[in-house]
Structures are given as structure tokens and as C-alpha cells.
């Protein structure tokens, strides 16, 4: 059952090509001096210039950033609290409640949130409903990361803090918080990334008149995949990759700080 090495390399190349060639094409054509996504004509940045002059696009980007910032901050606070509570008190129901949205199909979450906002709360859909929806599905991710960090730590450390004279609050501030900070930051970046490129749930909870970047891209490609779409996708990709890289750099810290 041993594969020959060259065959293995070929297989790996195909897999990676399958993953990354489409992304590379998008980036490449965002710099192509042609309105058609056909052949390479020449280098240009005019699609980016067009993008920056597009008022709809800019407002969608502003909405996305606002939603992602607010939603990730709120989800981080709530998710951290949930992670701490799950770890410390080992409740039976809380993990299921917090973690279920993570595993739930997005379309289901989107539809149920829409129904909830409209039928139960009678809320006018808009930025607020998007933010609430994003918080809902991000909390679980933050909670998972924070709890995983806590599970890797010696419980005696927290007892030692109390034993040596720290009140519960000071023990949290001086010991628990610094130790779980890498997980909190990683969770926050994850929540931000999930929010900024979420399409399905946003689609159901946005209502009319409010648009985010993914929704704007979707409405544009209904007509045609223009180089402008390539350009905005490239920017979104760059932002996401940067955040993932930052999160990945923070993660090894958790190993170092373990002592």
C-alpha cells in the first residue's frame, strides 16, 4: 500500500491546485486591464480605483466593518464568559446551548433568526438584526477556544491565586485573564473573520436597504463577474488572511505560557 513518492507529490500538487488556483485567478484578474474575465491583457489598478469611487460598495464595506467589530466584541465577551462558566461549573445544559449554533446548518440558523426577529420580536430588520445574528453564531466559537485553553491548564494555579490572598476578582484579573488572553484574542479574530464574510445568515437577517460586503458581491455577480468583484474579493481575502495569520501567531503563545 505504499505510494511512490513522485505520485504522492503529484497528488499533493493537484489538491493544493484545487484549493488555491481559483483564489489566484481572482487575484490575478483583479489586476487585468480588461472588462472580460477571459485572457490576460495588461496590468492595471483601475478596478480598485473604480471600487473606491463606488458609493454602494463603500457603504457595504463600512456596514461589514461595523457589524464585524460590534459583533466580534460582544461575542468575545459573552463567549469568554460562557467558556469560563462551562469550564468552572461544568453545567449540563450550557455547553449544548452555546455550542449548538456552531454545528447548526447556517441556512437553518438564518431562517429561524429571520422568523424570530419578524414574528416574535417584530423587529425591523437592519444592522441591529445582523449584529445580533452574528453574535449568536460567533459565541460558540469563542467559547470553544477559551474552554480549550482552560482545559490545558493546571487547576491548582487558580486555587494558588486564591490561597495566596487574591479575591475572586483579583485572581481573575492577575491570573486567569492573562493566561486565557491568547485564546480570547484568537476567538475575537475568529469571530471577526466569520462575521465579515458571512453570507447566508446575513442574507436572511439584513432586510431591505442594508447591505454588507458579501451581499453586495452577490448582487453584483448576479449580472456578471466583473473585475470589480475580483478586486473587492481580493481585498476581503487579504483582510481575512491577515487576521488568520495574526491569530495563528498568537496561538503558539499558549504553548509558551504553559510553563
Amino acid at each position: 500500500m505504499t505510494l511512490k513518492l513522485p505520485l504522492l507529490w503529484l497528488l499533493a500538487a493537484v489538491v493544493y491546485a484545487f484549493l488555491y488556483v481559483p483564489l489566484a485567478v481572482v487575484v490575478l484578474f483583479s489586476f487585468n486591464d480588461s472588462a472580460l474575465n477571459a485572457g490576460w491583457v495588461g496590468f492595471t489598478t483601475r478596478w480598485y480605483e473604480l471600487l473606491l469611487a463606488d458609493a454602494d460598495m463603500l457603504s457595504a464595506a463600512a456596514n461589514s466593518l461595523l457589524v464585524a467589530t460590534v459583533a466580534s466584541i460582544a461575542a468575545t465577551i459573552l463567549g469568554t464568559m460562557a467558556g469560563l462558566a462551562i469550564h468552572r461549573y461544568r453545567p449540563r445544559l450550557l455547553p449544548a446551548l452555546v455550542l449548538t449554533p456552531v454545528a447548526m446548518p447556517e441556512i437553518l440558523l438564518g431562517v429561524s433568526l429571520l422568523l424570530f426577529f419578524r414574528q416574535v420580536l417584530d423587529l425591523t430588520l437592519g444592522l441591529a438584526s445582523i449584529v445580533i445574528a452574528h453574535i449568536t453564531f460567533s459565541i460558540g466559537f469563542v467559547a470553544i477556544v477559551v474552554r480549550a485553553r482552560l482545559q490545558g491548564m493546571d487547576e491548582a494555579i487558580f486555587e494558588a491565586a486564591r490561597d495566596l490572598g487574591a479575591t475572586p476578582w483579583r485572581s481573575f484579573r492577575h491570573v486567569t485573564l492573562p493566561l486565557i488572553l491568547p485564546a480570547i484574542v484568537a476567538g475575537a479574530l475568529m469571530a471577526f473573520t466569520l462575521s465579515i464574510d458571512d453570507f447566508v445568515i446575513t442574507f436572511f437577517t439584513a432586510g431591505v436597504g442594508v447591505t454588507t460586503l458579501p451581499l453586495q458581491i452577490y448582487s453584483m455577480i448576479k449580472v456578471a463577474v466583473t473585475p470589480e468583484v475580483n478586486a473587492v474579493s481580493t481585498l476581503l481575502m487579504a483582510l481575512t488572511l491577515t487576521l488568520i495569520a495574526v491569530a495563528a501567531r498568537i496561538a503558539p503563545e499558549s504553548i509558551r505560557a504553559r510553563g
Binding site: 493546571d154 491548582a156 494555579i157 486555587e159 494558588a160 491565586a161 486564591r162 490561597d163 495566596l164 490572598g165 487574591a166 479575591t167 483579583r170 485572581s171 492577575h174 491570573v175 492573562p178 493566561l179 509558551r256 505560557a257 504553559r258 510553563g259
Partner: protein, 359 residues
């Protein structure tokens, strides 16, 4: 009295982890809770520290009941088995933590930390982080941190358990020196009887949630109150016996088919009582048959097994009735010629004042 435990009981479901334990620990004492794992010693320690509360009974520190006092308000510090150093703080910040928590100023903290680190020979490690230290060094930091703001009581939860044998011996002497030096009362939890014997002023031997005996190391070893204590501390030969004679000086014990032996008198023992003769391996003398010095208690035996351990040799010998005894012979120069091997016919004997009758 510094610490008083009065009828302390703690249950976990149906299991009584600690049952009606009463102990008095005096100021300046090095007191050890010794017992096998699951005997309740760690539960007891956690209740003194404030991480757990008794279901019944009281814990008093200097006469004040500790019930309801959270761990941070008890002048009691703990050295954890895992050391529990804060991984994100330097050694100096770890040691300074209790001072910071008691709201001392930076000017007060710096010299106190320096002094505490000097006491455990780690003055040059102040800027290091816990992950850069060896096990023994972490142990010292944990000690310095727990002692720096002079608690009334220091609790040590199997602190030597994670160290290798050589280091453990070093830390033993270090602990004795440190305790004498700082004059703080130590309550030490361990399952290692040699540690307990070497370190303690007094030992409480625990079993299944109860205290079996509280005494000095010498009395615990030489006059155990029951079979459990005798067997748990060191090795012990336990021989069923019936009291055949009791005088002020001696007991005559009937060992069944082996005949009668003489053992030291014990108060309140009456003729006819059944019990156990506890005999330490080092109290038993082995000699080549026919060359034995005359001792009161003497039997013919055959060597079954010998374990040469360097300083001593451990023998397992079988008596005429098939019963085996453990014996220990020091390998000092003159005894060198008296090494026995399996199958050798020997005489086992012990003095009339050796051994201890247990009810």
C-alpha cells in the same frame, strides 16, 4: 493551640472521605498527615486551606472558627504538589504575588522577595520564568512564594512527590532547615512513610478517613497502635499470638505450634487476650545454625530469599511451621562473612525486649 480540628467530617455522596477527625496542632510544629492515597489526608488539607468545607465539625485557627472564611482571608498558604506557579509571571513576580495581594507597596515588596529567594538559594533566578526552571527550582519558588508574607500555617501537599529520589533527599533536609529557620507551623501531607519519619515532629497516620494514631515518629514506628499502622510504616512481621503470661516487665506470648516467646509488657493487656506480635525485620537476628548467641526467642529456619541492597541485605526466612519472616541484616565489615544464600539453615532470634504486642 494553633490549629484545632474538632470532629471534622466530609462526605462525597456515600463515601465518607474524612470521618470525625480531631487533631490539635501546636505553633511551630512540623506535623504530618500520613496515609495511603484515598485516606482523606488531601481532603483534610483542602478544608484547612478553605477550598472545601466540612459537612460536620469545626476547624479553628488560633481559637477562631474558620467556617465561612474564604481561602484568601485565611493566614494559611499551600505548597501544591504541581507547584502551581503562575506561568506568565517571572520568579520574582510569583514570589511577590501574595505581597501584592495584601496591598504592599513596591518598595516593601522588592526587598522581601529578594530575601525570600535568598532563603531558598534562588537569588539569581529572579528574572527567570517558571518554564525555565528545573523541578527542584520550581519547588523552591513555590516554597518562597508561600512563605514570603509569613502565614500562620503552611500546608504542603505531597510537595516532594514529583522530584527524583536524589533531589527528594536534598529537599527533605532543606524543608527541615527552612521550617526551623522561619518558625512557621508546617502541615505536611504525604503517603511516603520515610519522608514522614524523617521530617516530622508528630505524625497522624490516616486510613479510610480516620486518624489511626497521632504520635512522634519514634513511637509511631516502635509502638504502632494497630496492625494498619504497623504495616503501613515500614515493613513489619505480624504473627498471631495469645497472651499466656503478663507481668509488669514482660508478656509471655503463645505463638501456637511455634511455642512461646517473650515480649515487652504493654499496659492493660490481660492473660488470654488474642492479638498480634509486631516484629520489625531489623529486630530479627540471623546466624548460622549452631553459632547463635543465646537469646530468649529463638527458632530454626531456612533462607528462602535474599536481596542484597548494598548497605543491608533483606532476607526472607521460613520457620519450621512454614511461616515466613522478613529479616534485615546490616552489611557492616564484620558481618560480611555472614551472608546467607537461599537454602541455608539458619537460626532466627530476637531479644526479649524486641517486638510489640498489638490487640
Amino acid at each position: 493551640m494553633l490549629l484545632e480540628l474538632r470532629n471534622v467530617t466530609r462526605r462525597f455522596g456515600a463515601l465518607a472521605a474524612v470521618q470525625a477527625v480531631s487533631l490539635d496542632i501546636e505553633a511551630g510544629e512540623f506535623f504530618t498527615l500520613l496515609g495511603p492515597s484515598g485516606c482523606g489526608k488531601t481532603t483534610l488539607l483542602r478544608m484547612i486551606a478553605g477550598f472545601d468545607a466540612p459537612d460536620q465539625g469545626d476547624i479553628l485557627l488560633e481559637g477562631a472558627n474558620l467556617a465561612g472564611t474564604p481561602p484568601e482571608r485565611r493566614p494559611v498558604h499551600t505548597v501544591f504538589q504541581s507547584y502551581a506557579l503562575f506561568p506568565h509571571m517571572s520568579v520574582a513576580d510569583n514570589v511577590g504575588f501574595p505581597l501584592l495581594m495584601s496591598r504592599r507597596t513596591r518598595e516593601e515588596i522588592v526587598p522581601l522577595v529578594r530575601e525570600a529567594l535568598a532563603k531558598v538559594h534562588l537569588a539569581d533566578k529572579a528574572a527567570d520564568y517558571p518554564h525555565e526552571l528545573s523541578g527542584g527550582q520550581k519547588q523552591r519558588v513555590a516554597l518562597a512564594r508561600a512563605l514570603v508574607n509569613r502565614p500562620r500555617l503552611l500546608l504542603l501537599d505531597e510537595p516532594l512527590g514529583a522530584l527524583d529520589a536524589k533531589l527528594r533527599e536534598e529537599m527533605r533536609s532543606e524543608l527541615i532547615r527552612l521550617q526551623r529557620d522561619v518558625g512557621i507551623t508546617f502541615v505536611f501531607v504525604t503517603h511516603a512513610q520515610t519522608e514522614a519519619l524523617a521530617l516530622s515532629h508528630r505524625i497522624a497516620v490516616m486510613n479510610a478517613g480516620r486518624v489511626e494514631q497521632v504520635d512522634t515518629p519514634e513511637r509511631i514506628y516502635e509502638q504502632p497502635v494497630n496492625r494498619f499502622v504497623a504495616e503501613f510504616i515500614g515493613t513489619c512481621n505480624l504473627i498471631d499470638a495469645t497472651v499466656a503470661a503478663a507481668t509488669a516487665a514482660h508478656l509471655g506470648l503463645d505463638l501456637g505450634t511455634l511455642g512461646e516467646v517473650v515480649a515487652p509488657a504493654a499496659p492493660g493487656i490481660a492473660v488470654g487476650e488474642r492479638g498480634t506480635l509486631a516484629l520489625r525485620p531489623e529486630q530479627i537476628r540471623l546466624s548460622a545454625r549452631g553459632h547463635a548467641e543465646r537469646l530468649r526467642n529463638q527458632f530454626e529456619a531456612t533462607v528462602r530469599e535474599s536481596l542484597y541492597l548494598g548497605d543491608v541485605t533483606h532476607y526472607s526466612v521460613a520457620l519450621a511451621n512454614g511461616r515466613t519472616l522478613q529479616a534485615l541484616a546490616a552489611n557492616s565489615g564484620s558481618a560480611r562473612a555472614q551472608l546467607f544464600s537461599t537454602g541455608d539453615a539458619v537460626t532466627v532470634a530476637w531479644r526479649h525486649d524486641a517486638g510489640h504486642f498489638l490487640r
